[in-house]
Amino acid sequence: MSREKQQGRREFLKTSAAAAAVTIAPGVMLHTLSADAAPRTEPVTDKVRWGMLIDANKCADGCTECVAACDKENGLDLVDMPEGADPSLWERQRPRWIRQVKLKDNLSGRITNLPMMCQHCEEPPCVDVCPTGASFRRADGIVMVDRHICIGCRYCMMACPYKARSFIHAEVAEKLTHTPRGKGCVESCNFCVQRLDNGESTTACQEACKHQAIVFGDLNDPDSAVSQALKKYPSVQIRADLKLNTGVRYSNI
């Protein structure tokens, strides 16, 4: 039921945003949707690199809107606990693409909140180790799993420094058309690739964040909201020491 509602809202956004862009701060556009949102017919290219800036200052304590939106968008809420499973064990086995993390600074005691997900590394360790090439990086910077050739070895999960990936531990009875999913494969955040390929330019998490903590867009376009914001505010990559050049950046951690 609520899925339909959400769908309706997206349709609404599509049409209304064609006329106006949402402004979050002077000079910073939240997102713009092109009027001619249509399925993509040309291959993606590296002219675009999708990325994100997350402002930990804006991310509110106790809020999990982005997580709920991701679950809904990608059908993760349809993954049911198998009959007879131990609930506490299942909690550690069920898939999660985005999660809320709360940090405390060891010296100052300052608390920060932030969402963590696949960082869409430019040099992704998960892709390097995958034996079959199922883990791959699309030309536009999105790292994802081709589940048709994933053998479920979980080596990518061993290699990911952000613990961004989930293995599907059980049969999934119901799935969405645009997010196929099955037992025995690995998956992770794909920047809502089905939205992007259909001409939209937001992710579910960004759209859901009432606090505007997430800015998503094209890192290669100097005028994009995310590039502008990155230029303006200091930001970091998590585990920058690994030199993975992540597509997801954070400020005010």
């Binding site: 999990t64 997580v67 198998p82 499973a85 064990l89 299942w90 550690r92 086995q93 069920r94 898939p95 999660r96 999660r99 809320q100 993390v101 709360k102 940090l103 405390k104 600074d105 060891n106 010296l107 608390i111 920060t112 963590m116 360790p125 892709v127 390097d128 180790v129 995958c130 034996p131 079959t132 090439g133 199922a134 050739i149 994933c150 053998i151 479920g152 070895c153 979980r154 080596y155 999960m157 061993m158 290699a159 990911c160 420094p161 952000y162 613990k163 990936r165 293995f167 599907i168 531990h169 059980a170 049969e171 037992k183 025995g184 494969c185 690995v186 998590i238 585990r239 690994l242 951690i253």
Partner: protein
């Protein structure tokens, strides 16, 4: 030294078939466990999105590591021309193949999609050390098979040595490759160490030899064949040296880790407050796996006995499993350091809240799969020595020792 004669394993049929039946039953139970896990999905195991490799990988990696080590005895005979080891070569090569087969079977049967093995064979990512390992394993089996053939076939005598050398080099690369599976994982503190790959080579020497010793002693004992003191002493000394080398590498590994500040937390976890992992490290890896066998082997009286040798080899194997558990599971249980200088106080995905390690409690099915792999190794080995001439008729001092003089 007399010429060595080889013959098939001659134990009475009922006994032979009885052994096969028992091993076959264990393999069948493991098959049931695999069906159960694959049918339901991995939720019936203790593996989670935090600890993604579990007991099956502990067994599989132990067997694969031991496989390349088992070939050592043959290599010493061929590549290094030590005459006394030559009669031991055939069984050594056979074990190398069967151990590898057992380990790979466990590894493959734990995949989320074992039915897609064909994909793994046709889609390669040449950057992946895992994919390279698939080649290395296949090549290893092929080369060792040829090696066995050349050892057995007199017409092939002239080529026997080069193949032996090739097999030796291949096994070195292979174990380095297995070690690199971990060493390439920069994400996790415990694995990000260049020394892991050579450490795996040394471990393979020890584990492979220990398995070899036990199988050899058992096969000879039940078949009434003789092993003289000369052979026993050499195998025993070799085992002692390998166990000591593992101990040395363990020291270096942890000392270099302690040297780098960023690894202190991981070291504290393994060495001091990791609970089961600390226990397995000290009691299993260090004591049972290294100190105990060294003690037995160099004990003035114990070291000379058959029982002492068997005990030492058993200890090395048990210690080896503990070692693999600490490396494979312990390395994952330790929370990844994503935010230096900060503590994770809450997380929606078990990120090691307040530094807590990840939980892992293996289920029975996982153990059954691993044990099935071991049973498969023995099953294949026993069939092999029964069908073909792998075992020398005798390894008594009179036959084996080049310096033997009738007193």
């Amino acid at each position: 030294m007399k010429k060595t004669h080889f013959s098939e394993w001659g134990i009475e049929s009922p006994r032979y078939w009885g052994m096969l039946a028992v091993l076959g039953a264990i393999v069948a139970i493991a098959g049931g466990a695999v069906f159960y896990m694959e049918h339901n999905g991995h939720w019936v195991t203790g593996m989670t999105n935090q600890v993604v490799w579990g007991i099956p990988h502990v067994f599989a990696i132990f067997l694969i590591v031991a496989a390349s080590g088992a070939l050592n005895v043959a290599s010493i005979g061929t590549a290094f021309d030590k005459k006394i080891y030559k009669p031991l070569g055939r069984l050594s090569a056979l074990l190398a193949i069967t151990l590898l087969a057992g380990g790979l079977a466990v590894l493959v049967l734990d995949l989320g999609q074992p039915g897609r093995l064909l994909i793994a064979m046709t889609h390669y990512n040449f950057k992946s050390i895992f994919a390279w390992n698939i080649y290395l394993y296949m090549g290893f089996m092929g080369i060792v098979a040829v090696y066995i053939w050349f050892m057995m076939d007199h017409r092939m005598k002239p080529y026997y040595k080069p193949v032996g050398v090739l097999a030796f080099l291949w096994r070195l690369i292979l174990t380095t490759g297995t070690g690199s599976i971990f060493a390439f994982i920069v994400a996790r503190q415990g694995y990000d160490a260049a020394i892991l790959a050579p450490m795996f080579v040394i471990m393979s020497f020890a584990y492979g030899l220990a398995v070899y010793i036990l199988v050899l002693m058992f096969a000879f004992k039940v078949d009434g064949r003789d092993i003289g003191y000369a052979i026993q002493r050499r195998l025993k000394n070799l085992l002692g040296v390998f166990a000591a080398a593992v101990f040395y590498f363990t020291l270096v590994y942890h000392l270099t880790n302690l040297y780098g500040t960023e690894n202190h937390a991981y070291e504290a976890f393994i060495l001091r407050d990791g609970g089961i992992y600390t226990l397995l490290f000290w009691a299993g890896w260090v004591f049972v796996g290294c100190l105990l066998p060294i003690g037995i082997v160099y004990h003035p009286s114990l070291g000379k006995t058959r029982g002492g040798l068997i005990a030492a080899a058993t200890a090395v194997i048990l210690g080896g499993f503990a070692t693999m558990y600490v490396i494979v599971i312990g390395g994952q249980a330790f929370p990844m350091a994503m935010f230096p200088g900060k503590t994770i106080v809450a997380s929606g995905f078990f990120d090691g809240v307040n530094g807590q390690p990840m939980l892992y409690s293996p289920t029975l099915a996982e153990f059954l799969l691993g044990i099935g792999g071991v049973a498969l190794v023995l099953l294949l080995t026993f069939i092999g020595i029964r069908m073909l001439r792998f075992l020398p008729n005798s390894l008594s001092d009179e036959v084996a020792d080049p310096h033997y003089t009738k007193s």
